[in-house]
Every structure is written in C-alpha cells, then in structure tokens.
C-alpha cells in the first residue's frame, strides 16, 4: 500500500531541514511552545476522562467543563497546601537545603583533596582554586551572578504558563470540532488522505507521550532500586525527579546526577565510596536508558533509527540549545509523518486529477447558478 512506504533520502533531507527550521523558530517563541507542549500533555492525559464521562451519559461540553473544573480545583488546593506548608516549614526547608548544599560542597572539597594527594600538579589548577569552599561563598556567588536573572526568568515564564490550563480547557472542549473544521476545508479529493494524516499525527503525539511516560517509570524503578540498595534517603522520590529531569536529554541528566550526588554526599559524609557508587549507578542507568529503554519506548513509538536520533539531538542542540534537545525528537517524529503524508497526497497524480475535476465541476455549478 502506498502510504506504508518509507521516506527516501530526499524526503529525509527535507525532514531534517524542516525540523531544524522549526526548532529555530520554536526557540524564538519558546514562551508559547512550552505551554503548548504542556497543553498537549494535559489534553492526552485528560481526554480519556472526558470520554469516560461522555460514556456515562454526560454531554461532551459538560464533561469537558467538569474535568477541567476538577483539575482547576485540585491545582488550587495543591498550591494552597504547598503555600501553607511552605510558610509553616519554610525555616526547616531552608535548613535542610543548606545542609544538602554544604554536604555537596564537602564532597567536592574531599574529592579535590584526594585528587591533589594523588596528582600534586592539580594544586595549581585554576579549576580547583576557583571552586567555592563554603556555603557563604556559594550563596554570594549565586546571589551575585544568578539570582536576578532567575527572578526575571520566573516573571517572564509565569504568564505563559498560566496559559496551560486555559488552552487545555479549550482543547478538551473544542479540539475535535476544530479538527473537523480544518478537515472540512480540505478539498474532497484529498479528504481521506488528510484524515489519515491527522490520524498519524495524533498517533505520533500520543505514542511519544506514552513512550515518555513508560521511560520515566522504567528509569524511576531502576534508579530507585539502586539508590535504595545503596541506602540513600528518599530513593523513589529522588529517582522520580531524576527521571523527569531526563526528559531534557543530556542537560537534565547532568542536573539529576548533581542532585543525586549532593544527597548521597550529605547522607554519607564520611563515605566517599558510597557517593562514587551513586555516580556509577547513575551512569549505568543512563547507559541502560540510552541504549535499551529509549529505543524500546520513545524510539519505537516514533519509528526513528537510533543513529538518526543521536545525530538529531546534536543538531537540535546546535540550532536551539537546551530547548532544541527537549523538542528535537517529537518535532522530528511529527515532521517525518507530515512530510511523508504530504508527499503522498501532493505527489499522487490521480488525486490531483480528481481535485482538478472537482474544481471544474464547482465552477460549472457556480456559472450555472449565475
């Protein structure tokens, strides 16, 4: 069957170029892309609930309102609880955070001392001399260099993140109607193929998100088990945060690794070996993730060759930085589906002939009625 053919070299060239162009544009309007992505996640998570309520006898509109209303209530409740807990336990949290950061710094200091002992030449290294030795120095460096821009970033992102529940609501309410409206505007000749295109795009997005969820569960289970065996505190929570951070390829993993190291170094301040074991465990899970879990989950769902995935990750990072790393695989998967389908629709001489015939009939009809 024609639409099961794989794209050729030229098609893949077009797919790569279009993906890079989209990533470049997305990087410019990231404030809109991230809420859009979160909206899609919300839509695909909540859509089954809406459908279940429709099956139970509610009208689609009522079901959509009910689900988003519940989501809004849960969010408000969560924010309220977080706020009340934060105000009552703020001081304790600050102490804990300070404790962990100091633990991490102690680990860096111990590692440096060990390295200097083994390799004396490192004593004069600029890297070692520039490392802050205590919490005050870190705080001073953070406030001086990063706090202002961090606060500005938060102010910049807040309004666009508020778009997420709003957009999710309208996608649940009118997503299907919008899709039908778009399909209605497609000429009759291309109608069936366009429906197939929409279905493929929907399947790709759904598969990608499902793949990502499966990957997160697998990562959490593996890392959580390892951390539990090593005796690290809150292994499951740490593993879950690390697995979610890994949604941003490479960069997320680095941040997650630092987090795990800090916790391990604080839990076992006098046992450097445990912290090193954590690093080794983390690297093993990453390798397992990259070479086994990702091809089995996300890669399989997007039907992209692993080599192309890795190359595209580098290209995505070069074109759009960390945002490119995050977006490159889903964008590549979608562009591949769209280019492949458009090639089949527009390249089909038979369909184009039918389209021209339809237009002639329409003109004849219009002339007749005048």
């Amino acid at each position: 069957m024609r639409y099961e053919e794989q794209p050729g070299v030229l098609s893949w060239g077009i797919i790569v170029v279009v993906t890079c162009l989209i990533l470049y544009l997305f990087e410019k309007v990231l404030w809109l892309v991230i809420p859009g992505l979160l909206t899609l996640v919300g839509y695909y998570c909540l859509q089954p609930l809406v459908q279940a309520l429709v099956r139970a006898g509610l009208k689609h509109r009522t079901a959509g309102r009910l689900v988003t209303g519940c989501l809004f209530l849960v969010t408000c409740l969560g924010v309220f609880l977080l706020f009340s807990v934060a105000t009552s336990r703020g001081a304790a949290w600050k102490t804990t955070a300070t404790h962990y950061v100091q633990g991490g710094l102690n680990f860096v200091g111990s590692t440096e001392a060990w390295l200097e002992e083994k390799v004396p030449q490192l004593k004069t290294s600029a890297l070692i001399r520039s490392t802050p030795k205590n919490l005050d120095a870190v705080s001073e460096q953070f406030v001086g260099n990063y706090l202002g821009s961090l606060l500005l970033q938060m102010v910049y992102w807040l309004p666009s993140l508020l778009l997420v529940p709003y957009l999710t609501y309208f996608m649940l309410q009118d997503g299907n109607r919008f899709k039908k409206h778009v399909i209605r505007s497609v000429p009759n000749a291309f109608f069936e193929k366009t429906l197939l295109l929409f279905d493929r795009v929907d399947q790709s997005l759904r598969s990608f998100l499902m793949g990502l969820m499966k990957l997160t569960v697998l990562d959490t289970a593996c890392l959580g088990l390892g951390l539990w065996l090593l005796g690290i505190s809150h292994p499951l929570l740490l593993a879950l945060i690390a697995a979610m951070l890994a949604w941003v390829p490479y960069l997320g993993s680095i941040v997650a690794c630092i987090m795990v190291v800090i916790v391990a170094a604080t839990d076992f301040p006098n046992e450097l070996a445990t912290t090193y074991c954590c690093i080794i465990l983390f690297l093993c899970v990453r390798l397992l993730d990259d070479f086994v879990f990702v091809p089995l989950t996300v890669g399989k769902s997007l039907r992209i060759h692993p080599v192309l995935s890795v190359l595209m990750l580098f290209l995505g990072a070069a074109v759009a930085g960390p945002a490119g790393l995050l977006l490159v695989l889903p964008v590549l998967g979608l562009v591949a589906v769209i280019v492949e389908m458009l090639g089949q629709i527009l390249g089909d001489e038979h369909l184009r002939k039918r389209f021209r015939h339809g237009r002639v009939l329409q003109r004849t009809m219009a002339a007749g009625s005048n």
Partner: protein, 140 residues
Amino acid sequence: MSLFKELTTRELRELDALLHERSYQKDEVIFDEGDTGLGLFVIVSGRVKIVSSHAALQRLAPEFGPGDYFGELALFEESKRTGGAVALEPTQVLALFRTEFFSLLERDRRIGVKILFELSRTVVARSRKLLANEAHLPTV
C-alpha cells in the same frame, strides 16, 4: 439511517464526534476503484452510483440513495476499493473513518457491536445477492 438505527441518543452523540460531513457536486468522484479504502460513507441526501470493472459488482448495487451506505469493506481492512463511487446529483454524505471507528470500538464496545452487526447484515445480504447473480456458484 439504517446503519445507526439501533443506537441510543447518547451513543449517537458519541458517534457524531467521529462523523465527517462532505458535499459532492453532480458527477464528482467520491473515490475510485483501486484507491486504498479508509472508511465508509453514509448518504444523507442525493444519489451515488457505483462504478466497477467487475461486472458482478456493477450489477449488485448500481445506485445508492439517502440512508444507504457504501465502502463498508474499508472499515474491516485496508485494501483497495473494488469499485468507484460517483455522485449522480449534489450529494451530502457522512464519512466514518476506519481508525476513528477502531478507537471508538476500544472505548465503547457496545456502539461498535451495534454498528458491526448492522454492517454484517448488509455484507451478508450483498454477498447473497452477488452469489444469486452468479449462476455457477451456490447460495449459502
């Protein structure tokens, strides 16, 4: 419409989200013989002629009117259409796409069973008619 006659109001509402309305001019091709079938069409108004290179099929159902449906085999398998469909007059149809119907089947089997039962009846009736026209084949 005979295909949906067993459905309740609630089930019709759920199905409605999956149906696509299309309008065709007189003599406009709806699909051609040899196209990959992706769904079935239910006629709301107008008339549709089936054109097939297979004489037996041509004799079987040369024309369809309001309430009839055609292209039903595409709902069961992604194979080439055995005949083409052309609008004989300005025609409005509802299209039910195969993968959307399958997603409905996964969500609500009851609707699926009702539609599939009606479809089976039609397929059986058309098969019998086809066999009856072929003198060398026995009617089962």
